[in-house]
Amino acid sequence: MAESVVLGEFYWDRRRRCNNVRVTDAVAFANFVHEVTAMKVKILQWHAVASWTWDAQDETCGICRMAFDGCCPDCKFPGDDCPIIWGACNHAFHLHCILKWVNSQTSTPLCPMCRREWQFKG
């Protein structure tokens, strides 16, 4: 019984757009009302957007100077088609770039950055 009286008073206030009811009171009342009639949000589909990144420390490939998140000059599509690879020395290159480099070396291939022997990181 007391509940309905309070409710009625609140609505009456709101209809008259009275500002003399303190905000906290209004919020409290509303929250109180919420206990009675709840609104639920049901998500049917959440289509999100994300960007991917190779988590390399550097921005660009040391050989082709193209972004890691881009692709090497020979490739058209980044990502799976043009992966990057880390050497044992922790330097990263586009796979295609470093392979070209390695294959062009006559002796044992060295890392283009630190001149240590190039080994793919396992």
Partner: protein, 953 residues
């Protein structure tokens, strides 16, 4: 000598007296005559000086009017006789007799001619006249006889026939313009009057002609005799008739009332109209009959017989009509009105032709009219002219002798139905009428070209007509001028939307392409449109929209026929053909053939522009040329594509792939590379999504334990983009609800596992969310952006939030929250009330239907709502914003430049930047710089005066 002179004077007076009796009204007596006779009476010595008076002798023959009786001339004509006689006394006596005889016969001649001319149709004086004339001629007075006779005729003609003739038209001539219309309305008005008047005057004329013949005969017989006796005689008989004709026409023409040509015009117009309606009726009849014929083929023989009968009837009717007209024309001709009548009926024909063209052409552009106009020309005016010319006997090739001078236009062999081999005159008429019809139709169509092009694909018959007309008349420049002016007036104004202008431009291109395949006129017409479009900011956007909206969802009202995508398609086909051509071109023989088929540019072409550029009219090329470079277009397309792809909630991109393939053909693969990657990202995302979902489902241990009643992973989809290849994306921090956040991080983790070492970075403000709000008594579905979803989900915890509290909770600025939350208040889900601070609002969930204004939402509650689009928020930075960002680097250069130099022109700034900006190198176009500078001007950093930029103080 003195005596002689006084005798002559007496003779002169006697003759003058006779003349006076003949002339009916002394007031009509020309002043010159009176003056002359006075002179003779007073200063008679003048007659002795032939040198002084000699020019007078030439006067009568040179003057087109029959000479009034000139006494001086008379006296002079006597001179040769006198001088041949010498000065002896005996001879004087001879001459005296002679003069008396002359006077006698002159008096007799005067009386007889008066009788002849004045007599009503009585030619019996002819035989009596002959000896008198012979006598006078023998005395060397032949010319005098002729002139006097003609003068006599003139007076009679002028006073009787001519006055009567003009009096018949008097009521019309003397009435006001308004009353004249009343005359014109009367059915048989000019016809009756005209034919009656003509009949009268022709009767009179033919009688007078007979009189002339009588005299001519008399003169001739004398001349023949004179020739037999080897006497010198003046040839008068042959010139008599032409002189008479000349006299008649000059009398008529000098007394012509001003309104007479008008009357003639009205007459011919009426007659031609009559003929026209007659032919029209028969045409309709024909159609009717042929219709019946179609229905009942068994009685076709009878029908066709009737058809022929009816046609014959019409032909005979029109024949009599034409005969009447022909009679009038012939009468006018013999009165010397040849050119006036010809003018009249040709102007009437042309007037009729014009009204016919207007009637046929009208404002309907969906029917070709040229054919029917041509047919009509053959049926009505040419038939009429043919009949008229044959009636007048002109169709006997009067210019066959001039065959060498035949107009080249007329050399075209043509035959007319029912006429057979046409005469030269008819051919000329045909050419003339056709040219006029072409010109009229062309002017009509050119005047309405704007409207015609507005509904182009439907109005192509009108365009085709116009094309033919222009081929004939060659007045292309008229088209260009008038079309440009109507474009400026109607299209290139601030009120027209860019979309409309572009659509009209495309239609113009298509229409003019069919009129003139060389593209010269299109170039001229298109230039103002292009210039104007370059000044509009949203041109690129509109063009790209036109390019991409091929699927048919064109909401802006443009019809699908204008779609550029189709053009892309066609272009692709052409491209393939062109490639094929290139291969065969290697063949030398083919190359030779190609070079043989070369044609020079039309004469109207602008020689400054190479002919290569207009070889092919390619709509897309023209569109791109508005923008300036294809890179700009591709860039804009990329932004739009990104926008479109990011707001997609499924991965259905088939139509985009198709568009992209077409664009690749046109703009080259390399420039569309980034767009291709974007589409590829979508395809990859789809695959990755299903991959991750199955892996998440297969590993329930990690998920199921934590969130029992929470959202399942089925709900989440993700577009995973290669951000390097997408246009810059606007990111905004957003705290999504914990449950979603959890979902996202799980997803990212999975991704990391599958695609090591790649990581996902969420752009949480982007994407779309479909959700359902469930109340006790209703539920509503919405499709919103994540921010809006995050907002509404907060209201699950608390039904009322202040905007500040909500903003901090969600992690976005308050003003942006206020903007976004407007969506929910507009849908009636939340209500807004003013809080204690002016800028702190309270939002409360509207929990039951009874509490809100029902009308506003009842209808909406069941619908799935679209995203609120008029927020104007885009997930991708627009091209201008990108440009602005890039250009800010140069701002301090520009400011520095302007402090040093004071003021600079756009070109100078551009060149200086190009020269001195090495790092970062300056690679912007002049237009880009200009738009950036105008941005600075509007930011009040710079000022622009007379094309000079200077610093704002």
């Amino acid at each position: 000598m003195h005596f002689m002179v006084s005798r002559w004077i007496r003779v002169g007076r006697a003759v003058a007296r006779h003349v006076g009796t003949v002339t009916a009204s002394p007031s009509h007596k020309p002043a010159s005559r009176r003056r002359c006779s006075n002179r003779m009476a007073t200063g008679s010595d003048r007659t002795h000086t032939p040198g002084e008076a000699k020019p007078r002798q030439n006067l009568p023959t040179a003057c087109p009017f029959p000479p009034t009786f000139d006494f001086g001339a008379f006296a002079l004509r006597l001179l040769p006789a006198r001088s041949s006689l010498g000065c002896g006394r005996g001879r004087q006596a001879m001459q005296l007799d002679d003069s008396d005889g002359a006077l006698d016969s002159w008096a007799r001649f005067c009386a007889l001619s008066g009788e002849l001319v004045g007599g009503a149709g009585d030619l019996s004086v002819g035989p009596r006249l002959a000896p008198v004339v012979a006598d006078l001629c023998a005395r060397g007075l032949a010319t005098l006889v002729r002139d006097y006779f003609l003068h006599n005729l003139e007076e009679t003609f002028r006073n009787n026939a001519v006055r009567m003739f003009w009096q018949k038209f008097h009521p019309y001539s003397s009435s006001s313009a308004v009353e004249r219309i009343k005359f014109c309305v009367q059915e048989s008005w000019p016809e009756d009057v005209l034919s009656a008047a003509l009949e009268d005057i022709c009767l009179e004329k033919s009688y007078q002609e007979k009189c002339v013949l009588v005299l001519a005969h008399a003169l001739q017989s004398y001349e023949e005799k004179a020739q037999n006796r080897k006497l010198k005689a003046v040839e008068c008989s042959s010139s008599l008739m032409p002189r008479y004709q000349l006299m008649v026409s000059s009398v008529l023409l000098t007394t012509l009332p001003l309104s007479f040509p008008e009357i003639l015009n009205v007459y011919f117009k009426k007659k031609l109209e009559e003929l026209n309606t007659m032919v029209d009726a028969s045409d309709e009849n024909d159609q009717l009959v042929s219709h019946e014929l179609f229905g009942q083929s068994n009685v076709s023989a009878w029908d066709s017989k009737m058809d022929i009968d009816s046609q014959e009837k019409v032909i005979s009717e029109s024949c009599t009509l034409v005969k009447n007209i022909g009679k009038v024309v012939r009468d006018f001709r013999c009165l010397g009105f040849t050119s006036m009548t010809e003018d009249s009926y040709s102007s009437a024909i042309i007037w009729l032709l014009k009204s016919k063209v207007y009637e046929l052409a009208g404002d309907d552009y969906r029917i070709p009219v040229l054919g029917s106009v041509k047919k009509w020309i053959q049926v009505v005016p040419l038939q009429f002219l043919h009949a008229l010319l044959t009636y007048l006997g002109d169709s006997v090739d009067y210019d066959s002798g001039l065959s060498g001078l035949k107009s080249p236009l007329a050399s075209r062999p043509s035959s007319f139905p029912g006429i057979g081999v046409p005469s030269q005159a008819l051919l000329r008429w045909h050419m003339r009428l056709e040219y006029f019809a072409y010109e009229t139709l062309q002017d009509l169509r050119i005047g309405k070209l704007f409207e015609i092009i507005v509904d182009y694909p439907e109005s192509s018959p009108a365009i085709e007509d116009l094309k033919q007309c222009l081929e004939y008349t060659g007045q292309h420049s008229k088209l260009v001028d008038s079309f440009i002016s109507s474009l400026r007036y109607r299209l290139l104004t601030a009120g027209a939307s860019t979309n409309d202008i572009l659509h009209q431009y495309v239609s113009t291109i298509k229409a003019l392409r069919s009129i003139d395949p060389t593209g010269v006129f299109l170039e001229a017409v298109g230039e103002p449109i292009r210039d104007y479009l370059r000044g509009r900011k949203d041109t690129i956007k509109c063009i790209v929209t036109m390019l991409t909206d091929g699927s048919g969802g064109n909401t802006s009202g443009g019809n699908a026929g204008d779609n550029l995508l189709e053009e892309l398609n066609r272009d692709a086909e052409n491209q393939e053909n062109a490639d094929y051509d290139d291969h065969t071109n290697i063949d030398e023989k083919q190359a030779w053939l190609n070079s043989e088929s070369w044609e020079p540019d039309p004469v109207e072409a602008d020689p400054l522009k190479g002919s290569r550029s207009r070889r092919k009219i390619d709509i897309l090329g023209l569109m791109v040329s508005i923008i300036g470079s294809k890179d700009q277009l591709v860039n804009e397309y990329r932004v739009m594509l990104a926008e479109k792809l990011l707001s997609k909630s499924d991965f259905d991109i088939d139509s985009d792939i198709r568009t992209l393939e077409l664009l690749k053909i046109h703009f080259g693969e390399s420039s569309m590379q980034k767009c291709e990657i974007m589409l590829n990202d979508l395809i990859d995302s789809k695959r990755t999504n299903s991959n991750i979902k199955t892996s998440l489902l297969n590993a329930p241990g990690t998920v199921a334990g934590q969130e029992e009643a929470e959202i399942s992973h089925d709900v989440l989809d993700a577009t995973i983009i290669s951000s390097n290849f997408w246009p810059p994306i606007q990111t905004e921090d957003l705290a999504v609800p914990a449950s979603v956040d959890k979902l996202l991080s799980n997803f990212a983790q999975r991704f990391h596992q599958i695609k090591t070492p790649r990581k996902l970075l969420w752009k949480k403000n982007l994407g779309t969310v479909k959700l359902e709000l469930q109340f006790e008594d209703r539920s509503m579905q919405f499709t919103v952006v994540p921010v809006q979803a995050a907002i509404i989900m907060r209201f699950q915890e608390k039904p009322s939030w202040t905007s500040k509290a909500l903003a901090t909770e969600i992690g976005i600025p308050v003003d942006s929250l206020n903007r976004r939350i407007g969506f929910w208040t507009s849908k009636g889900v939340l209500t807004e009330s003013v809080g204690p601070d002016a800028d702190d609002h309270i939002f409360t969930i509207v929990d039951s239907m009874s509490d809100v204004n029902k009308n506003s939402i009842v209808n909406e509650s069941c619908e799935a709502f679209q995203m609120n689009e008029d927020e104007g928020e885009s997930s991708v930075a627009s091209v201008e914003e990108q440009l602005k960002k890039e250009m800010t680097v140069y701002e301090k250069f520009i400011i520095g430049m302007l402090t040093n130099f004071g003021n600079m022109t756009l070109d100078k700034i551009h060149n200086t930047l190009k020269m001195f900006c090495a790092e970062p190198s300056y690679d912007k176009s002049l237009q880009q710089l200009q738009s950036f500078l105008s941005g600075l001007v509007s930011d009040e950093k710079l000022e622009m005066r007379d094309g000079l930029y200077l610093l704002k103080k």
